[in-house]
Amino acid sequence: MYRIVMLLLVATLFHASNVFAATELLNVSYDPTRELYQDFNKSFARHWKQKSGQDVTVKQSHGGSGKQARAVIDGLDADVVTLALAYDVDEIHNKAKLIPKDWQKRLPKNSSPYSSTIVFLVRKGNPKQIRDWNDLVRPGVSVITPNPKTSGGARWNYLAAWAYALKQKGGNEASAREFVGKLFRNVPVLDSGARGATTTFVQRGQGDVLIAWENEAFLAVNELGKDRFEIVVPSLSILAEPPVALVDKVVDRKGTRVVAQEYLKYLYSQEGQEIAAQNYYRPSDRKVAAKYAKLFPKLRLVTVDQTFGGWTRAQKTHFADGGTFDQIYRPGR
């Protein structure tokens, strides 16, 4: 018995340490990219084999964007990170100096090979007649969105609503605050992550409308019931740019810089862009975008940089302790 136990133990320890010996990349990503990178990694392995003759396997790690960034900061050996918002990658620089400060300038399009936006998912037939953001603050409409304090995706939701109120006629900071406050008072459940919120809406039957990433909404409709839900595109939304970055300190230690660089570059290639589009991410490449134009409805998009002065500022004003989001729930209101 003892011998078997020891064997098992040694085998596993060996197995675990051996995993990193082969040419292997670790892509630390956030939750909704699982399907995308499953497809992309296969394609990249073929591409790399053709190009260099070497085999490469890409290991995936998924979780909440902030939690994943913390794991990298605390020593998870990620060759590349593909996270939900630039703020989380910035923190990898600020807290651990694993990447340079100007990481976002190193790749085209602000290091975002694909983008997405925030849309609504409603129940079939749209019983509450939800067409745009201002329908969400109507009394009696129940809205499901995750908690912006714990979910990166939810921060996009929040900022999109804020931007909508801001761009209305006579819109200003105060009216935006008022609008978003009203919206969140219609939220009965704050899940901790985007997929938790989707489950609450889809499986538990809570709420009339789910605010979600466009790609998540597509996925939910396709995976969980075309006959049960439909997507509503608001008049204005936010351009969500999930960034990717090479983790310099890690690739240099592991000697994987070349292949990791190629991995990120491949995201911008024709094949990479097609895979992104097939997984409902808006491709950044014009030609591929034109090809899939039917899939992605046109709408007015604002960016975090223009409207909110970048992620660091947005995070501080809205989502830090005591920020505008906390003020919504201040007692006595």
Binding site: G64, G66, K67, R70, I73, E91, N94, K95, N147, K149, T150, P188, V189, L190, D191, S192, G196, T199, T200, Q203, R204, G205, Q206, Q315, F319, A320, D321, G322, D326, Y329, R330, P331
Partner: protein, 282 residues
């Protein structure tokens, strides 16, 4: 025979061997596994100034979360103590069909990953779930309310009381009861004078552990609580919230407060238990 009825628990070291080595090993393990890792919390929290510390641990929202967390944990532990004793008693003393199966299933809440527990419970009690469908029209909302927190906490703490009381009852001399019966006591007297006092320390242990576990629980609760600030937000969720802002120090500050409060409560419960044992022995 007299052993269970009366014990000479004289103070002092006694004449049993092995105190020094066992105590040494116990302290060593405690130090390496518990105290050193936990001390990091204090060191990290100590990087805050006093104002920052108070700001982190005494914000209205955090205070509300203490109320929700400790309150629900207390209610859940009481529920578990009450039903745990009944379950343990029934499983040990009576024979009925299905007893063995129920007995074997008691540990399940530990083995099921907490997230699965939360998802399953939320599924059952949501308005479209098996029980939610029945309860909702009656005006009872469980999922996504503080009641859901209590429910999840009862579930995850369920094995503690059952499993601490069970062995005491199993190893318990029926002879003590028989003796008491010979002396002419009726069933109720025997239970209250002989059986309950012996069971009580174990019940208290189980209660303490169930309470402790419930206070720290996160995984199952977030799926069923609704997580509304000031209403159904638990303290461990706030710790996560702070971590999401890369505020390690703030997170550890809240963790330290929780740790100290739990420690005090556990200490009081353990002292109470010691006292109850003395009382039982008299």
């Amino acid at each position: 025979m007299a052993r269970s009825l009366k014990k000479s628990h004289a103070a002092g070291w006694g004449n049993l061997p092995g105190f020094a080595p066992t105590m040494g090993y116990t302290l060593l393990c405690l130090l390496v596994v518990v105290l050193v890792p936990l001390s990091t919390l204090f060191f990290k929290a100590a990087t805050l100034t006093l104002d920052e510390f108070v700001g982190a641990v005494a914000a209205p929202r955090v205070l509300a979360s203490y109320r929700v967390t400790f309150g629900a944990a207390l209610l859940a532990a009481v529920t578990n103590a009450f039903f745990g004793v009944i379950v343990a008693w029934t499983l040990v003393r009576y024979r009925f069909p299905g007893r063995r199966i129920l007995d074997a299933l008691v540990d399940l809440p530990f083995a099921l990953p907490t997230a699965v527990a939360g998802i399953t419970l939320a599924g059952i009690f949501a308005s479209n779930g098996w029980l939610g469908k029945v309860l909702e029209p009656l005006g009872v909302k469980v999922a996504f309310t503080p009641v859901g927190i209590w429910l999840a906490m009862v579930f995850i703490g369920l094995p503690f009381v059952v499993r601490t009381v069970q062995p005491v009852l199993q190893e318990f001399d029926r002879e003590a009861e028989e003796a008491a019966a010979c002396l002419g006591g009726n069933r109720w007297q025997i239970c209250t004078r002989v059986v309950f006092p012996l069971m009580f320390p174990a019940v208290l242990t189980g209660f303490t552990l169930a309470f402790a576990r419930a206070v720290g629980e996160y995984g199952s609760i977030v799926f069923i609580a609704g997580n509304m600030p000031m209403v159904s937000e638990i303290t461990p969720l706030l710790i996560i919230t702070k971590l999401e802002q890369y505020d390690y120090a703030g997170a550890t500050a809240v963790a330290v407060v929780m740790l100290l409060v739990s420690f005090m409560l556990l200490l009081v419960l353990n002292l109470l238990q010691k006292w109850s044992r003395r009382y039982a022995e008299q």
